[in-house]
Symmetry: C2
Subunit: 393 residues, 2 copies
């Protein structure tokens, strides 16, 4: 929603992604091994001498490494969280060194279904292994090693990104000082699982999907991917917001008797546009992989299904945030996280934001939300001490 | 949910549908004319001498004329509302003469996309005109004429059926004594419109759809229809019910490291089954038509968008019912109906049922729901007077 241009105050300006190659084999949770792999990432701000001001941004389903700034002076669209990351913004790049990456299995430049398998010379496509949230955290840890970041000042993520942040806190307690979990859940509900399954089925039913080998067939499963995105999109918005935004306005056609053209509602044409845009720019295999990673995530599974036991592994402080109209990851799911953290005697702040934008609210510059984020983060690394270490728990 | 067999107490027993042909031309709201058309219907109970005990059942999206009883002694599945219609049941066939039909444009025997156009000898398919709720009411009125029913004791419908019941009360105030509107709304919300659009897009994207000429191609758009049904199904259930029923139980595969098989959740396999079953038995063109009829329905549109003005046309009494966990037609939508009725100084009773079954609750034998229906209907035609006229407003 930011309308800033590269020149505007508060922008990190022109940024360039970097590609990091890892030649050590990576054993995935599914048991398969990637002998070598790459992660694409961007950084904003400066790492201080003590290396204590680094913040990791974990992305959600369709996110990527381009979280803030612009790729060129003619680039009109900034990174996906530009309203929140930059000088003077809640994640203040005058204070923090911000790292954002494209997760393994993504389609924005990290190794994934669109990359070539050197062993075969073939695009990996559907043969790319199913990665899990814990795999992402493992690869993010290796990136931290390369960048010389022993401990993140904060790991921050919304939605699926919040799941990664929680996994970081549990799997690497010594490497996270603050964990910011926004509009997330400890695991999906049956309804969430159902919507993901329908989205996948829509993709796989598209005859252009070719069992995932669409690139080899020189095509894309556009229609299936568009339907998947439309399903996702409806569940990211609230009924109320859609009502305010579109109501029952017609875009074309009419209800008049004898009208030849079918009436089409604004909301329907908007959704179709969103679906089509997405279908041209996102990889269908990555979409399948990301939704399965969401499905499989279950914070407490390895801890006897006891989230309190899971969070006892953590050492960091937590900020948990939820949005009132989010029905995909409802505030109740965040309150369950808070309850488990309290049970595990961890330090936790909980902020529930009144907002009618649904799940998508976490991406929007809502005043109370950004104020809360800003104030919490001011405590993490005070402005004056951004070149000193600060506030270790 | 009824497990009764034809012999059990409370069943209307073996019933046979009847086909009624209409040779008078029907001008539809869209302006097109059907020169002749047929409706398939069933009746349960006996019409009294005064013809004052007739009840019309209006079906929802995927319903039909077979609302109660069995078609043969070996038939294992009763009609879709068998738990509510029968001797001693809320819609008591010892008292009422119940009429249930398949709406025009349906695929269960009434004229619709699956029937042959005598003018061309060809299956009508996608050329069947888009009918509207008002068209259904107009055709139901002609059926009432044929059956000699001058005034319905009650018109009853859930969901899309409730929209027909309201339209009856407004378009033919002299022919309805009681209007029972269950889990309905005066018009769809933007979110409802969005889900319908996605469902239609899934059907139309299926290569077996052939622009609606699938029968001529000897095929069915099974995958698209299955996806459409899955979307519908998720929105008919509540998150809570799905959680209770399925949780995150796996049906196959495992989360164990190195597991080869993809984990599949129970809820996903259940949905897939529901979708596949539906796709074998329902017509895709009818599905498109029914969802568009839902989209276009807007009770107050012809009355300056003022539902109070709309309901001032009505003369009957109203019972409005809603279910707490229904998020497709939330209780708020029913309360809006009640508010408009109160504004129009109509007599209305409102019953909100605590139930966690979501929108589908209206089809289930929930005690408080059935008790309320039963008590309301006892007032409509008292038992002793089922052969006399009673309770005219």
């Amino acid at each position: 929603m930011s309308k800033e241009t590269p020149a505007a105050t508060g922008s990190v300006g022109i940024v360039s992604p970097r590609l990091q190659r890892f030649d050590e084999p990576l054993e995935l949770a599914c048991g398969r091994v990637l002998p070598a792999w790459e992660l694409i990432y961007e950084t904003y701000g400066t790492l201080n001498r003590e290396r204590s001001n680094a913040v990791l941004i974990c992305h959600a389903l369709s996110g990527n490494h381009h979280a803030a700034g612009f790729h060129s002076s003619t680039d009109r669209k900034p990174g996906w969280w530009d309203n929140c990351i930059g000088p003077g913004k809640p994640i203040d790049t005058r204070r923090f060194f911000v790292v954002a990456l494209n997760n393994l299995g993504g389609c924005a430049g990290s190794t994934g279904p669109r990359s070539v398998d050197p062993a075969t010379g073939r695009i990996r496509g559907p043969e790319f292994p199913q990665v899990r949230v814990r795999d992402w955290v493992a690869t993010q840890r290796r990136l931290a090693d390369v960048l010389g970041i022993g401990c993140w000042a904060a790991v921050i993520g919304g939605s699926l990104g919040g799941m990664q942040a929680m996994r970081w806190a549990i799997d690497h307690p010594e490497r996270v000082r603050h964990c910011l979990v926004i509009a997330a859940a400890m695991r999906l509900s049956a309804q969430n699982l159902a919507f993901n399954e329908i989205a996948r089925k829509a993709i796989m039913a598209d005859p252009q999907f070719h069992d995932g080998w669409f690139l080899e067939h020189g095509t894309l499963p556009r229609q299936g991917l568009a339907i998947a995105r439309m399903i996702g999109h409806v569940t990211y918005l609230s009924d109320e917001l859609m009502g305010d935004k579109f109501g029952r306005e017609l875009r074309s056609g009419s209800f008049a008797s004898g009208g030849e053209a079918e009436a089409e509602f604004q909301v329907q044409s908007y959704l179709r546009y969103q679906g089509d845009q997405f279908a041209d720019n996102f990889d269908a295999n990555t979409y399948l992989l990301m939704t399965r990673a969401l499905d499989y995530f279950d914070l407490a599974r390895d801890h006897g299904d006891d989230p309190v036991a899971a969070f006892r592994q953590a050492r960091c402080r937590f900020l948990v945030m939820a949005f009132s109209s989010d029905w995909r990851f409802a505030p109740q799911r965040s309150r369950e996280i808070v309850d488990a953290l309290v049970g595990a005697r961890r330090e936790v702040a909980y902020v529930e934001i009144e907002a009618n934008e649904g799940h998508d609210a976490f991406l929007l510059p809502i005043t109370r939300y950004h104020d809360a984020l800003r104030r919490y983060l001011e405590r993490v690394v005070p402005a004056a001490s951004s070149t000193r270490g600060a506030d270790a728990p």
